[in-house]
């Protein structure tokens, strides 16, 4: 198994999720990972379209929700990016957001890879 950058995926979070379902009988971790991997891309699309139409409120809301799910799965760096986007949305200042969105897209691919490795 390759050695990941700890800031991409916080292993203590993953371990605590595993502890919730130690025998793995409920498949909780893989279910959460599936939910995260299937829900995040459409939400990021929502974020981009809100950004394109200059809808700061929606940008803030979607980023807030994405920040939560990243936190739940231990995707620390991605969570931080969404937190910054959320703050810009709240401040109705979207100038910096496009570059943050680009970075979050790249970061998501890394998170995806790392999570898939965890549940494989």
């Amino acid at each position: 198994m390759p050695e990941e950058d700890p800031t991409i995926l916080d292993h203590t979070v993953i371990e605590s999720l595993r502890e919730l379902d130690p025998e793995g009988e409920c498949g909780l971790l893989s279910e959460l990972v599936d939910l995260f991997l299937s829900d995040t891309p459409p939400r990021m699309k929502d974020l981009e379209s809100a950004l394109a139409s200059g809808d700061a409120k929606t940008v803030e809301e979607v980023a807030h929700s994405l920040k939560s799910s990243c936190g739940n799965l231990g995707a620390a760096r991605l969570a931080t990016l969404f937190k910054e986007i959320e703050a810009f949305g709240r401040g109705k200042d979207l100038a910096e957001v496009p570059s943050l969105v680009d970075r979050s897209n790249d970061e998501f691919r890394r998170v995806e890879e790392a999570l898939k490795a965890e549940v494989s």
Partner: protein, 650 residues
């Protein structure tokens, strides 16, 4: 049986009864020699009734035969008895839509009865058990005893209805029996029998709620009807419940499904057809029926609410407030991984959890399902956690007292003051630390337990208050009733006389009293003993009560002396009343312990005229008239106004 108690109810003259056409049919079918044409003729005088019977006869058929267009066709197809019973049922519905019992919901009663009837009919057709029209009538009238008790004892029945509302665990049948020495199903049975409806109706109605109902009768028709009634009850209870209860009742509906041997979708379609038919009949009879729920939704919700141990022991002291029990919790988050985690933490701790994806869904679910705790995310599109909490606190029902736990992000914690102001009970931050989350839920459990304990104590208090009210009323009744004859006693009779006097003073209408004294009563006592004397008094009292109008007041005011207060009655009216009583008593054949004999009475009447200054003077005049009746040979009626003897027997 409870024949005596039922007779008392019937003697009150307040029992629900069919009117018009129904009554005519009743009197026809109670004769030996009735003919089909007569019944058809009577029904046809009522076009609305005719339409309903034709419609039902058509819907009860298998559909393969030609449609029914006349009452005659209906009689040929389903039998004239069946048509007559149906007509009776419909006129009962039409004639008993309102009443004096304030806590009795007459509309709901008929909506419920109609649901039962429609379902019993559909089940009868489906299972080929019994006759569909018979099943309809039997189910329609199965709970008529409740209406009867509400009609005869409006205030007492209201009291026990209120009592059972404050504590749903109380059994209505037990409460009814405690209060009336007869319960509503027994009243239903007696009324059905009284109307001459088939015996199998009586048995089916009487025992369908008993666990071993079928063992009570050998009649297969009764057994078939019984099983239909049982399923129809489940169905009607489901129909008339609110959505939250419907979810809880779904497993009972599954029993019905098993009995029908249907697949889930087939059963849903069956129920929906019955629900539609319920609505159709409701519109036709102008009975408001509830909107039939989307069954797929109910079924799904029922499955989501995972059934755990049925009931946990109820906490009964303060120490028990911390005791664990599974709580109903609604978890709300628009973000799926957080929701999944929240659900997982709570389920692992043993709670029943239903998930909602947004504030609006959570609001609807809370009002439906009555959860103990709502745990909601703060930031959500459309309706956020704070708005949800505010909406719940404004709601009249479940929402107001639900324990509300708000989920906040780390960076929202400085805004929680705002959240508390909107009515949240506590907050927990995410990402969740399961230990902290569950500690907050335990704090909620403690509050829920304490709150329920307070509610229980209030209930016990309300019950005690209500019992006290009943006791006071019973005492008052005892104090104003003559224990031997059951008639009002002197005190009550005089009180009512004074009240009537006051009314008379305002309205200046005619008003008379009739005084009754049994002739040679002392001789009866001396020759045959007091036991026989008592029987004489009881029989005379009964004859008295049976000969006067409902508005007249009869009281036993002395040893063998009775007083009848007759409002709105002039001198001639009073004499007529006296004469009816006199002749009723004269024809009595009194039998007791080897004694067979009859008695006569002397009657005196007096009416209000301008020279009567008070109640005592009126009584005195009536007494004088009685004295004159005695003096001129007894067994006669004398009026104070007419000095001459008015009437004596041949």
């Amino acid at each position: 049986m409870v024949r005596k108690e039922f007779d008392e109810l019937r003697d009150s003259g307040q029992l629900p009864s069919p009117s018009g056409v129904g009554l005519k049919i009743l009197s026809l079918t109670q004769r030996e020699d009735w003919a089909i044409d007569e019944i058809v003729g009577v029904i046809q005088t009522d076009p609305a009734l005719t339409g309903r019977i034709i419609r039902l006869a058509n819907s009860a058929g298998s559909g393969a035969t030609a449609s029914i267009t006349t009452v005659n066709d209906a009689a040929l197809r389903v039998g004239i008895r069946s048509v007559a019973n149906l007509a009776l049922g419909f006129t009962l519905v039409a004639g008993n839509r309102a009443g004096r019992c304030e806590s009795f919901d007459y509309d709901e009663f008929w909506a419920d009865s109609l649901a039962r009837a429609v379902c019993a009919q559909a089940l009868s057709t489906q299972l080929r058990r019994s006759v569909p029209t018979e099943a309809f009538t039997c189910a329609l009238l199965s709970h008529i005893g409740e209406l009867a008790l509400a009609s005869v004892h409006p205030s007492e029945y209201a009291a026990i209805l209120e009592l059972s509302k404050t504590d749903p665990s109380l059994d209505m049948r037990v409460l009814e029996t405690e209060r009336f020495a007869i319960h509503s199903l027994e009243v239903s049975m007696a009324m059905i029998a009284d109307w001459g409806l088939p015996d199998c109706f009586v048995d089916a109605i009487g025992y369908h709620q008993a666990a071993d109902g079928e063992a009570h009768t050998k009649d297969t028709q009764a057994q078939e009807l019984m099983s239909l009634l049982r399923m129809a009850s489940t169905f009607s209870e489901f129909c008339t419940s609110d959505h939250g209860q419907q979810v809880a009742r779904w497993p009972e509906m599954e029993f019905v499904r098993n009995e029908l041997g249907m697949e889930a979708t087939e059963f849903r379609a069956f129920c929906e057809t019955v629900g539609e038919s319920w609505g159709d009949w409701g519109r036709m009879l102008q009975i408001e029926t509830a909107v039939f729920p989307a069954l797929e939704h109910v079924e799904k919700l029922s499955k989501r609410v995972r059934k755990r141990t049925k009931t946990t022991s109820e906490p009964d002291d303060l120490d028990a407030a911390d005791k664990f029990r599974p709580l109903r919790i609604i978890a709300v988050d628009d973000e799926s991984t957080s929701l999944k985690l929240l659900q997982s933490h709570l389920s692992r701790a043993g709670h029943d959890v239903v998930a909602a994806n947004n504030g609006k869904e959570a609001l609807a679910l809370t009002l439906e399902w009555n959860p103990h705790i709502v745990i909601s995310d703060w930031m959500m599109p459309e309706m956020d956690g704070i708005q949800l909490c505010k909406a719940l606190r404004r709601a009249q029902r479940a929402g107001r007292s639900v324990y509300f736990l708000l989920v906040t992000g780390r960076d929202e914690e400085d805004r929680v003051v705002e959240a508390f102001e909107s009515g949240i009970d506590d907050y927990v931050s995410k990402p969740f630390n399961p230990k902290i989350l569950l500690a907050r839920v335990r704090a909620g459990l403690r509050l829920v337990n304490l709150r329920e304990q307070v509610e229980r104590e209030q209930k016990i208090q309300a019950e005690a208050t209500s019992k006290l009210g009943v006791l006071t009323r019973k005492l008052r009744e005892t104090a104003s009733t003559d224990p031997l004859t059951g008639l009002p006693n002197r005190r009550y009779g005089m009180e009512r006389l004074v009240e009537e006097w006051e009314t008379w003073r305002r309205k200046q209408e005619h008003f008379s009293v009739v005084m009754v004294d049994i002739d040679h009563f002392k001789k009866v006592n001396d020759m045959h003993g007091h036991d026989v004397g008592d029987v004489v008094l009881v029989e005379v009292a009964k004859a008295l009560r049976a000969s006067v109008r409902a508005i007249d007041i009869v009281a036993r005011i002395g040893g063998e002396e009775f007083l009848v207060v007759c409002p709105d009655t002039d001198d001639q009216g009073a004499i007529g009343c006296g004469e009816r009583i006199r002749s009723a008593v004269e024809t009595l054949e009194i039998q007791s312990k080897g004694y067979t004999g009859s008695v006569t009475i002397s009657v005196g009447t007096a009416g209000i005229t301008d020279d009567v200054s008070d109640v005592d003077m009126l009584i005195k005049r009536a007494d004088e008239a009685v004295y004159r009746a005695k003096a001129s040979g007894r067994n006669r009626v004398c009026s104070y106004e007419e000095t001459s003897e008015v009437r004596r027997s041949a």
